[in-house]
């Protein structure tokens, strides 16, 4: 469903992605783990076109979605096609990025109304169902600043789901949360995974990767150094760098 081929990205002279390739099938839950600064978030942001890669290709359902270098200049798919692609791939950010001037309900219904052109009543009905699903039915009229971090992130997930996306990208969704609030967000994500949502999750939560992921990708210094089932990666990794990383993470926990 999402295929990334040889993705490269530099910020100035710093090469953050050095040819990353991965493929996620419909219904698959892929997690990307690795040390800070290994390029995990950049990879995710490139997939959602928030950053533009310098080389390589991104395909969504077989269609090329990123820019390509043709005859000496960058050629991008039409703006509408990019907006459509983004509306089909939900993104959840580390810092939630809820819209501060809107209530929880408005945060969820605005994109369906303005992007999908849904009637307001229908959007509201869907939003209420989603809010109940993430356990925040009573917060519809609250403003984001009145919520805890965990509640904000659950609203952000509901907001993304309201677009009925075919896949969801999570960029360290629990990293900005107090430890006691991590569980409630992971629970929602697990339920989503069990319902068959295609997910790419950048995370430091090794237990989530172990319990929920179909595939674990290990990134280090801008490369995917190995990937496999959680079983293989966590019990019998091939690469020494993976072992070192896991040892450090497990020591911390």
């Amino acid at each position: 469903m999402i295929r990334v081929e040889g993705l490269e990205k530099s910020f100035g002279r710093l090469k953050v992605l050095k040819g990353v390739t991965l493929e996620v099938e419909p219904g698959e839950v892929a997690t990307i783990i690795g040390p800070s600064g290994s390029g995990k978030s950049t990879l995710l942001r490139c997939i959602n076109l928030l950053e533009e890669a310098d080389a390589g290709a991104i395909y969504f359902e077989g269609e090329r979605v990123d820019r390509r270098w043709v005859n000496g200049q960058w050629t991008r798919p039409p703006e509408r096609a990019i907006d459509l692609y983004r509306s089909q791939v939900g993104m959840v950010f580390q810092n939630f990025n809820l819209f501060g001037h809107w209530t929880v309900l408005e945060n969820i219904i605005m994109a369906p109304i303005h992007v999908l052109k849904k009637p307001r009543a229908e959007a509201v009905a869907v939003a209420k169902v989603l809010l109940a699903k993430v356990g925040l039915a009573d917060k519809a009229d609250a403003y984001p600043h009145q919520l805890s971090g965990g509640q904000k992130q659950r609203v952000a997930i509901a907001r993304a789901l309201a677009m009925e996306p075919k896949a969801m990208l999570f960029d360290e969704p629990t990293s900005a949360l107090d430890p006691e609030l991590v569980g409630e967000v992971l629970t929602v994500m697990k339920r989503l995974a069990n319902e068959g949502m295609t997910m790419i999750v950048v995370t430091h939560e090794m237990n989530f990767a172990k319990d929920v992921a179909d595939t674990v990708y290990v990134m280090d210094e801008g490369e995917i150094i190995e990937h496999g089932t959680p079983d293989t990666i966590f019990t019998n990794p091939v690469k020494e760098r993976t072992r070192t990383f896991l040892r450090q993470v497990l020591l911390r926990e």
């Binding site: 983004r86 809820l98 819209f99 001037h101 992007v115």
Partner: protein, 217 residues
């Protein structure tokens, strides 16, 4: 020579008429200046380098030259080029262009102060760049613009006194006319100052009320 405020009392209807003109000039310039400022502010942030450059030149030039010179160019300079505009129009245009340059900087600063995550979240949901600006960024930026806009509007009221030099019968000129008859500069200018203060004070109350009304609970 003692003070005689009866001249102010007698001239008051004339001063109030002048104040009305001042309000008229200011309100029109405030609306036009805000539109110019919004467009120029957006242009400066545009990805189109020519548009951004043009807006930057506008701001630099207009902010870097005295308002009085700009007004004189419009009123005394343009007729030499065959463009003769009524004094009132010159005053309003001059003030609008001038305040627009300051407002564009307010707009630009407020938009830039909105967290990039807001734009990214909106784009990731499929909002177009225009929708993102209109629905997500500008409403939040507007709240941050209000306090500096209030200051700018007050400056605009005070700066409008310069249009009296284009023969526009505003508050300032009304005062001068009364003085030319009564020779009571002190009393009349005090009265003019008080009336200007009432206008600016009203403006500051209005903007403060708006801030309170728009602030999220």
């Amino acid at each position: 020579m003692g003070l005689d405020f009866t001249v102010v009392w007698e001239g008051l209807p004339y001063l109030l008429l002048g104040a009305l003109v001042t309000i008229e000039v200011t309100v029109i310039a405030l609306v036009l200046g805000s539109i110019i400022g919004l467009l120029a502010g957006l242009a400066r942030l545009s990805k189109n380098r020519y548009l951004a450059g043009l807006a930057a030149i506008y701001v630099a030039f207009v902010r870097g030259t005295p308002l009085l010179v700009q007004l004189f160019i419009l009123y005394f300079g343009l007729p030499q080029m065959g463009v003769k505009l009524p004094a009132f129009l010159c005053g309003v245009i001059g003030l609008s262009i001038y305040s627009g340059s300051y407002i564009s900087e307010i707009v630009r600063g407020a938009i830039q102060s909105i967290d990039r995550g807001q734009t990214e979240a909106a784009r990731s949901l499929g909002f177009s760049p225009a929708q993102t600006m209109r629905l997500v960024v500008l409403p939040q930026a507007f709240l941050r613009m209000l306090p500096p806009l209030g200051n700018e509007f007050i400056a605009l009221i005070k700066n409008s006194s310069l249009v009296s030099l284009l023969t526009i019968q505003d508050l300032m000129r009304a005062g001068q006319r009364i003085i030319s008859i009564t020779f009571r500069s002190f009393e009349v200018y005090i009265a003019v100052a008080v009336l200007y203060f009432l206008l600016t004070y009203t403006m500051s109350v209005i903007t403060r009320r708006m801030e309170q009304a728009l602030r999220i609970q």
